[in-house]
Amino acid sequence: MQTQIEIHSELLNIQQCIDWVMSPDSGGIDVFIGTVRNATKGRTVLKLEFEAYKPMAIKEMQKISELVFERWPVQKVLIHHRTGTLQVAEIPVIIAVSAKHRDAAFEACRYIIDTLKQTVPIWKKEFFEDGEVWVAAHP
């Protein structure tokens, strides 16, 4: 059970993430890469800002990872999340999971990103030409 969890404001490095989860007893790796989209509901997005409650966010990510290891036969789990200002097409999040068999990798990876978006205390502000908004804050 090996987990690598990081939250920081530097560029995320895809190759390094994948190198870390690779292992000779793995048969497959599933990787999810979030990217900043240029529009939300038709409005042009100029940039995003991500803020994290870092110690709690790390703790929540660790909980997700522990649950994944209980539920699926996976080998390594990596979650890297970026904070600070991101431009369009930059990468806020990389999740990578290696496993002997691909089903576990796919299911665990999807579970991680779905759960991260529900429980991990990280917030995103979208900047438009005519304003800015904290995503999901209001009904």
Binding site: E51, M56, H81, L116, K117, P121, I122, V135, A136, A137
Partner: protein, 80 residues
């Protein structure tokens, strides 16, 4: 007792700063804190939802707060 409340995301905008101090009765609960804050900052009630975290864990409404706790307001998360 006086407790420091950390704020993130839109809660920081609502409080106007990254932390505030609130005065609560001894043995006040998370629910007491929420109603205190909602009176002082009515915009909190407009949020889709918000949680209180105590010592980096989501807290139940009936959890009792102490001056030693690290308390934070967690508006709806939107990472990823």
């Amino acid at each position: 007792m006086e407790i420091t409340i950390l704020a993130f995301g839109i809660a920081k905008d609502i409080f106007g700063r990254a932390w505030i101090k609130v005065k609560l009765a001894e043995a006040a609960t998370t629910a007491d804190l929420k109603s205190h804050l909602e009176t002082q900052y009515p915009r909190l009630k407009k949020l889709a939802s918000y949680m209180v975290a105590v010592n980096n864990e989501y807290a139940e409404d009936d959890g009792i707060l102490t001056v030693h706790d690290e308390v934070a307001i967690i508006p709806p998360v939107s990472g990823g």
